[in-house]
């Protein structure tokens, strides 16, 4: 007790903090590229983040094996029954193959798009803000990645776009981020709109397809794909319609999409490093 609070040293440290905070904020607002400091720090942290994320995944697998074994066995039995039923459906599906051919062409990836080149990367860290939904992966410019490249899951689902890269890391702004806007179309009907990221009233991440025409025929289960632009290749899956309703004005229609994956469960993503533009 009896020490002085505002010593000269504390005042200097506070002044330095204010100056650094202004520099960081202005740098983020003005510069479109990553600062040297951020590149260095993130380059150093990425291997550590990857190691901890890998440890976390392994711990989760062990936990799942130890405590969810019975549930896994039950789920396995259910899936076996479903598989047997599906095999019967497949035999009938030949009749519908031609009708579905256009949808398969839209949704196929590697086999239907031989011009696509992929690079795989593991997720090292997840965003910490409740408004920004971003992930950082463990590959970067040294592996041929660059800002603007599109990331997808193994099933061809759009995850997001690379916004910044370092030598061994890349930051991806996911489709759930509030700044994400993607030109899209309903695969079955061709109705166009824009898919926006955000949260619903319950605070859960959600995709919405907005700017649909009021007369647009949108059904539950319809798949929504990218229409192709300078940012996204054409025909990539964004999500499946789970409901359509009128917006706050009561005039415009929008659809809520289920994109089939959770950001916090993502383990590996695939970056489309090259593709031939239509």
């Amino acid at each position: 007790m009896g020490r002085r609070f505002w010593t000269k040293k504390v005042k200097i440290i506070l002044a330095v903090a204010v100056a650094l905070a202004i520099l960081v904020t202005l740098g983020a607002a003005v510069s479109k590229s990553v600062s040297t400091g951020e590149s260095i720090i993130t380059t150093i942290l990425t291997p550590l983040r990857s190691a901890l994320a890998a440890f976390d995944r392994q711990a989760e697998r062990i936990y799942g094996y130890l405590f969810r074994y019975d549930a896994a066995v039950a789920e396995n039995e259910t899936l076996r029954r479903q598989l047997a039923e599906a095999e019967g459906d497949v035999r009938d599906a030949e009749v519908y193959r031609r009708e579905n051919e256009r949808l398969r062409e839209l949704l196929g990836l590697a086999s239907e798009n031989p011009d696509y080149k992929f690079a795989s990367a593991y997720v090292a860290s997840w965003s910490v803000s409740d408004w920004e939904v971003t992930i950082t992966v463990d590959k970067g410019s040294a592996d041929g990645l660059a800002p603007g490249m599109c990331a997808v899951t193994s099933s061809g689902q759009v995850v997001g776009l690379i916004s910044a890269v370092g030598p061994n890391w890349a930051k991806i702004v996911t489709v759930f981020d509030a700044s994400s806007e993607i030109s899209a179309a309903v695969a079955a009907t061709g109705e166009t709109g824009v898919v926006l990221g955000g949260h619903n009233e319950a605070g859960e991440m959600q995709l919405q397809m907005r700017y649909l025409s009021t007369a647009a025929a949108v059904r539950n289960g319809d798949e929504v794909v990218t229409t192709g632009s300078t940012l996204y290749p054409r025909g990539l899956l964004l999500g499946t319609v789970t409901g359509a309703r009128l917006d706050e004005t009561g005039i415009d229609k929008y659809a809520v999409l289920d994109c089939g994956f959770r950001v916090d469960h993502l383990e590996q993503v695939f970056l489309i490093t090259e593709y031939a533009e239509d």
Binding site: M1, G2, R3, R4, F5, W6, T7, K9, V10, I13, L14, V16, A17, V18, L20, A21, I22, L23, V24, T25, A28, S35, G37, E38, I40, I41, T42, L45, L48, R49, L52, A53, D56, A124, S125, W126, S127, V128, S129, D130, W131, E132, T136, A164, K171, E201, A202, G203, E204, D264
Partner: protein, 171 residues
């Protein structure tokens, strides 16, 4: 180098590792596993607990360095968080030097204060620029409240580290 200096250096090395671990845990585990739809915040709690152990000046410097690394690691609103963390470190260390004792109750109080100082300005700016309402405020309040219990283990660890360093205070 005297043994006291070696212990002091070792103490600071362990505090640095603790801050690094907090940063990594926050970026990986706490970001991936939300609690009640919010992501917990460990770094302000860590800085407050360390600063209250080491005092105003050293706590301020520690908070500045941790804040700079955190901002440069790509955290959103890095500038605000850097400044908030430094102010939180100054106040945590300074109040423990002059008015409070280094107990768990003070750790909880100072951790809450640092959490509020670090996390509230980004929300205020966002509300001013983009609008928003009670939901955002409620989410922040929930996040701060649920992050506070992290101060208990952190304070215990920091106290052990300080005692191991055997730094003498004139109270």
């Amino acid at each position: 180098m005297t043994s006291a200096k070696k212990r002091t250096l070792l103490m600071w090395g362990v505090y640095a590792l603790l801050a690094l671990l907090a940063l990594l845990v926050q970026d990986t585990l706490l970001s991936r596993l939300p609690v009640a739809q919010v992501r917990l915040c460990l770094i302000p709690v860590t800085v407050a607990c360390v600063a209250m152990q080491v005092g105003g000046e050293s706590g301020a410097l520690f908070a500045l360095i941790v804040g700079a690394v955190w901002a440069l690691s790509g955290v959103p609103d890095g500038g605000f968080r850097l400044l908030g963390l430094t102010v939180g470190g100054i106040l945590s260390g300074g109040l423990c030097d002059t008015a409070l004792n280094r107990r768990l109750s003070a750790a909880l109080l100072l951790s809450a204060m640092t959490l509020v100082i670090t996390e509230t300005p980004p929300l205020v700016v966002r509300l001013l620029l983009y609008g928003g309402g009670g939901r955002d405020v409620a989410l922040l309040a929930r996040r701060l409240l649920l992050s506070l219990p992290l101060a208990v283990p952190m304070w215990l660890v920091c106290t052990r580290i300080r005692k191991a360093g055997e730094r003498r205070w004139t109270d």
